[in-house]
Every structure is written in structure tokens, then in C-alpha cells.
């Protein structure tokens, strides 16, 4: 079981404060999720011919520079990259498929966390506050962010088992709840070519979404299909390149609360997580209805979609 939190900035003047505003949200969900924490931050978008890949290796002394050099030779130009604690972010002029292939060959011990033009997924084992400090979250900037604190239910506490789970380019999922048919579903999805690293139920939900999107569903269609195919209890928050989405299962036992002002839309498992946000006393605060998709995205109509 877990805590989930999300913050989407409507007022982009707050971009420089995104990490600062979000850190207390994540920290306050510690009791719900003491085992591990993670977040997907969106910002610093690369141009259309490039991609951004975030990887992790437990050893902070891992030779990322060497990997960068090796990739540079393959690509015939040096990638822009930087390290943040156990993570490293690479910006490459290539496709996702090629990038994955390079890293599989040149840095097989590193785990790919996310691929996209804007997304960076950082996560790890430990109390949320430790994760916040490890990656220096308060200093981070961006347009939107979703995060998760984990209380492991039926699978191991590990970095790989932590959320957010990447589900495609610039897409990720965090989950509060417990799915009951994920083993059958995992077998099916493996046949469709979806790859899994853990025994985790949430990873299966993420894989399901990846599959549906690959089959041509819009995000809303994929989430609605999930209402039928995913059995169990869940609140999902999904990060997209331009915003985020929230959905609860039809029984809706797992909590979720939303808050909106002119400056932001925020989401959390408990209202407690939102109390430090600016002007929260005047925010519109409400709970998402069960079995409905709520999406906030830049450049489209904001609010409840389907």
C-alpha cells in the first residue's frame, strides 16, 4: 500500500519552485509508504530529434563518464549528460530503440528508469525523506511531477519494485492499492512482448497501459479498458509529457483528493499532503469519482475528460 502525490503547474512562473513545492508533499506520505519512494519529474524538454534517458546504478562511483564516451563513439557526437546521486540523465540524438540497444550493450549493469523528451524518473529504497535528500529534490525545476511512497505488499522492497513505473515515452504510472489478477495479466502481456523486471502488481498495470497505447488507444481509452481488465483496488496517477491523469477503480476504496487553484492542480492520497501548497486555503478541493478518467494537459481542455 502506498501514498501518491502529483503536482501540475498551470502557472509556469512556478517552474523554478516545482521541487521545493513538491518535497513536503512526498515527505508527508512517509507513514503510508516507508519502504521506498520515487518521482517522475517533467521539464527541461529536449527537441524533437532527441531523447532523454534516465538510468540508475546503485554505486554512485559507477563510471558514467566512460559510458558517455562509449556512446559518443557510437553516435559520433558526445551526449550531454549529468549525474545525480545514483542516477544519470543522458540526452541523445537518436531513437528510443537505438538508445536502449546502446545502453544494453555498453552499460548492461545500469537500469533504465525512463525514456522520453521531458521525463526523468528517480527512485530508490529508503524513507521518502532520504530519497528527497539523495536526489536534492527541492532544487529541481519542471512543469509537473508525480511521486510515490511505497509500503510493499506482495513483492520485495527493491529499487526496481519502486514506483513510478515507466510505461512508454514520457509516460509513467504510480499506484495505490492492490491488484488481484496481475499474474494472469503478466503472462498475457509477456506474450505481447512487454518486459517485466519484478513480481510487482503495479508494474503489470504499467505494462498493461504500455500495451494498450502501443495498440493505438488514447490514454483515456487505455484507462477505460483497464477498468474492465484490471481486477482489484486502485488509484492510479499517470504522468504524461504534457500533464497527468488520475483514475480510481469502480469500488473506490483507496483514497484520492484533488486541489485546484489558478496556479496548479495537485493530487494526493491524503489532504495532509497538500497543506503546504500556496493558497491551499482557497483551493477548490474535491475527490475524483470512481471509474472516471481525469486529465490535465497543456494545450488541451483541462479537467475531467471521460
Amino acid at each position: 500500500m502506498c501514498g501518491i502525490v502529483g503536482l501540475y503547474l498551470k502557472n509556469l512562473e512556478l517552474e523554478t519552485q516545482l521541487g521545493e513545492l513538491f518535497s513536503p508533499m512526498l515527505a508527508s506520505m512517509s507513514e503510508r509508504g516507508p519502504d521506498s519512494a520515487g518521482f517522475a519529474i517533467y521539464g527541461d524538454e529536449v527537441p524533437g530529434d532527441q531523447i532523454k534517458i534516465t538510468l540508475q546504478h546503485e554505486d554512485t562511483a559507477f563510471d558514467w563518464a566512460g559510458v558517455a564516451r562509449a556512446i559518443g563513439e557510437e553516435l559520433e557526437h558526445q551526449p550531454v549528460w549529468f549525474q545525480n546521486a545514483t542516477a544519470a540523465v543522458f540526452k541523445l540524438k537518436t531513437s528510443e530503440t537505438m538508445a536502449r540497444e546502446y545502453f544494453a550493450r555498453l552499460a548492461p549493469e545500469a537500469m533504465i528508469m525512463s525514456v522520453g523528451r521531458s521525463i526523468e524518473i528517480l527512485k530508490g529504497v529508503g524513507l521518502p525523506q532520504e530519497i528527497i535528500e539523495r536526489f536534492n529534490l527541492p532544487s529541481m525545476q519542471g512543469t509537473h511531477i508525480i511521486g510515490h511512497t511505497r509500503m510493499a505488499t506482495e513483492s520485495a522492497v527493491s529499487m526496481a519494485g519502486s514506483h513510478p513505473f515507466s510505461t512508454g515515452m514520457d509516460l509513467c504510472l504510480v499506484h495505490n492499492g492492490s491488484l488481484s489478477n496481475y499474474n494472469w495479466l503478466r503472462m498475457r502481456l509477456q506474450k505481447y512482448g512487454i518486459h517485466f523486471e519484478t513480481e510487482n502488481d503495479s508494474e503489470v498495470a504499467a505494462g498493461y497501459l504500455t500495451w494498450r497505447l502501443r495498440e493505438g488507444d488514447t490514454l483515456e481509452q487505455a484507462l477505460k479498458a483497464g477498468l474492465k481488465d484490471l481486477d482489484g483496488f486502485y488509484t492510479f496517477a499517470i504522468g504524461t509529457r504534457d500533464g497527468f491523469a488520475v483514475i480510481r477503480d469502480p469500488i473506490a476504496c483507496k483514497p484520492a483528493v484533488l486541489a485546484e487553484t489558478n496556479d496548479y492542480v495537485a493530487m494526493a492520497s491524503e489532504y495532509r499532503a497538500l497543506v503546504h501548497l500556496p493558497n491551499i486555503e482557497n483551493a477548490r478541493v474535491w475527490e475524483p469519482e470512481p471509474a472516471r478518467v481525469y486529465v490535465w494537459e497543456r494545450g488541451s481542455k483541462l479537467g475531467m475528460v471521460a
Binding site: M1, P34, M151, P255
Partner: protein, 464 residues
Amino acid sequence: MDQGGNFIISKSITHRLTDDRTMTDDYVKPGLRESATFDRHTINEIQRAADTGIYDIRGFGAKRKLPHFDDLLFLGASMSRYPLEGYREKCATDVVLGDRFASKPLHLDIPITIAGMSFGSLSAQAKEALGRGASEVGTSTTTGDGGMTPEERGQSKMLVYQYLPSRYGMNPDDLRKADAIEIVLGQGAKPGGGGMLLGQKITERVAGMRTLPVGIDQRSACRHPDWTGPDDLAIKIEELREITDWEKPVYIKIGASRTYYDVKLAVKAGADVIVLDGMQGGTAATQEVFIEHVGVPTLAAIPQAVQALNEMDMHRKVQLIVSGGIRNGADVAKAMALGADAVSIGTAALIALGCNHPKWHDDYIAIGSAAGYYDDYHEGRCPAGISTQDEKLSQRLDPVEGGHRLANFLRVLTMEAQTLARACGKSHLHNLEPEDLVALNVEAAAMARVPLAGTQWIPGMSGY
């Protein structure tokens, strides 16, 4: 036509039709072969289902043979291990429950408690008897899915108050009167099932306590109404502690299922004590399929729980109470050797009071059963006056005498456990260890994680 052959057959058939005193196969003719798949019980059940169109409901726990404590043996004193003398050299039996967060943990003289059983499923006399017996030997009783009766609170020196999905009778005054609070997620007989009480037992008093119309069949919730999942359970525990000013230990009771994960989650949610009920645990009423086909044997669940506690460095800090088929002092000692801090008895306690006693044999026959076989607790016709609300029947149980019988039984359990512990050189029951045990068969060895007798082999863990 004497010893075998037709005469005997017709005698045995007549025997069965007129006098069901025996269910043995002594007189079955050779050549009649019973199917192991469609045995007589199964055939009878299919026919009953076809007759009635409804599933079979009964009480008691799982009746089929399962790996259990009988499959384990103690390694007694040897050249390297010396026994303790009886009497002079003490083998202590006390236990403290709930000192992780509560300001008033429970101090028990013996590590055997009485498990939760409701007033409603049991008569008021039975609840009073349980309280009397437990208090006589310095241990606790537990309310059930029906609320706290004055009789039980009056008689029981230490009373654990159950907090269940139904919340029948739940109220803060009783919460404050309780010595501990037991949040029930499930029980061994039916992990995932709620309470069941049929109309014949919903008398005025029971109905009043549960806020139900008299005589209806109770429908019970299987999930708690205001929280789902360990993350929200943590907040619920916080509330219960706040209401009771952090005085009382909070137990979490689980039916053995995904025990390893459940125990870790219970600890993370903030439990002081975990009560683990294996599939042999009893119930007053539920579907037979639930009892027999859901859950994990007590033997297999205990090592999972202990492993989970050890990995979190919480063994002995969050206490573990084990229930589900505890019948004698050997079971007590073996459960503790595997790592339990205490055990809990339900079915055995009722049997001690008089459940299935041969003195009521004719009454059992009259209601279609027999002494030693009776499990239709849901019908409310218990000849011993225990699982009934009928005024006349329940008066057959004298609470004072019943209390003494239970106290006797609890003393025997304790002395038997001490005998075994002393033979293993222990001055406290807690010092019994898994290494004091060996298993008689491969299943028990694998489940209990102790070696097969005569070998070093623990299947799945260490080599031959």
C-alpha cells in the same frame, strides 16, 4: 453365515438404520471398495446439494487431515543437553503482550489465551465460563463478532475487545473498558469471510446487541467499513489509540494466507501484537467449502510469520499469538518452539467446557449427529448449552463448573508444555527453539522448516 457374508451385511445395514452408534467400517463386506475421490462424505454432500440448492453451512474448523504439530517431535535431553528437575527447577510460563506502544501491556501468567468467540454464536453462560476459567489461571479472553457482554467483562480479569468489519456492538465505553483491542482482518477458518449468524440464534438479546431485527439471518461485511489496506489501517490504529489515550495494546488478527507479507504489513501498520489463526481454526458458522479449502495450515504459517518478524528485527518486540488447532501442551510447546510468544485456543476451550461430551450422546443422536462429530453450531441446538441461544439448553452449562473445567484444562496445557520444555533443558517456555524439533515427514519438515528426523534435511532450505 457368521463372520463375513450376507448375514453380517444385513446386520450392519440394519445396524445403521436403527442405531447409528458406530460409523466404523468394521462390518463392511470385502469387495465393497470406497472411492477416495467420491468417498461417502462427498457422495452425501453432492446429494444434499441436489436436495437443497444451497451450500452446506457448519461450524468447527477444517476436519480433513492436514500437516500439524503431531508431525513434529522434540529432541529431549541427551549427552549434550541436560534436563531440568520438575518442581524445584522452575520452568517459567509468563508472557507480556503489547509493550511496543501501549502504556498498559497485558501480563499473562500462562502463554495460552482464549480466542475470540462471539456472544451470539455462544451462549452467555459459555462466555461467562470462559471468563471465569481464564481468570482463574491468569490469562485473557477475547470478545467476538457481537460485542462485549457484562458477564464476560465481569468475569474476565483480562479482556481483549475485537474490532471487526461488522462493528456489531462496537462502542467507545466498551473500548475504554477493554484491556486490549484486537483488529480482526480475518480468521483461519475463513480468511476473507465475514461473520455468520442465522436467525435461530438471533434472539432478542443478541439482536439488541447487534442492532438487528430479531430472527433474521445476519449478513456480515467481510471488509472494514472505513478503511481498506495497511496504509489506511495505520491511520485507523492511530485513531483507536487516540480514543483510548494510547493505553491499550492493539492486536491485529489475520487468518493464515499470505502470512509473510501480512505480518510485515501488520508491523508497518503499527500493531503491538499479531494473532495468526491457521486454517484449522474454528468458526461458529460458515460455508463448508470456505473452512476446508481456504487458508494455510498453522504449521506452515508460523515460520513465515517468524521470518517476517526477524527480518524486521521485530521478533519478541511485536508479539506473535498463534491459534488454529492447539489441542494439548505439546502443541503449545511446539508453537512456541517455532517462535510464537503465546497461543490461543477456541475449539479446545469449548470442548473443555463440554462441547461434544458423551454425556449428551442421546441428544446428539436426536439431532442427527453423534458425540464427537457434532459441528452444526449454526443451528443453535447445542445439547451442551454452548453454541445455542435456547434458554433451556444454555442452562445446561453451569458457568462456575464450566469455568473450573476450563481452568483445569489450561493448567494441564501449561504443565504438559513445561514438562516438554524441561526435558529440553529450558527454564522458560520462551527458550524453546526450532532446533529442539524434528519432523516425521517431508511436508512437515518443509512447512515447519525443521529437519526430517534422522537427517539434516530441511526441504527447500538446506541439504541432506
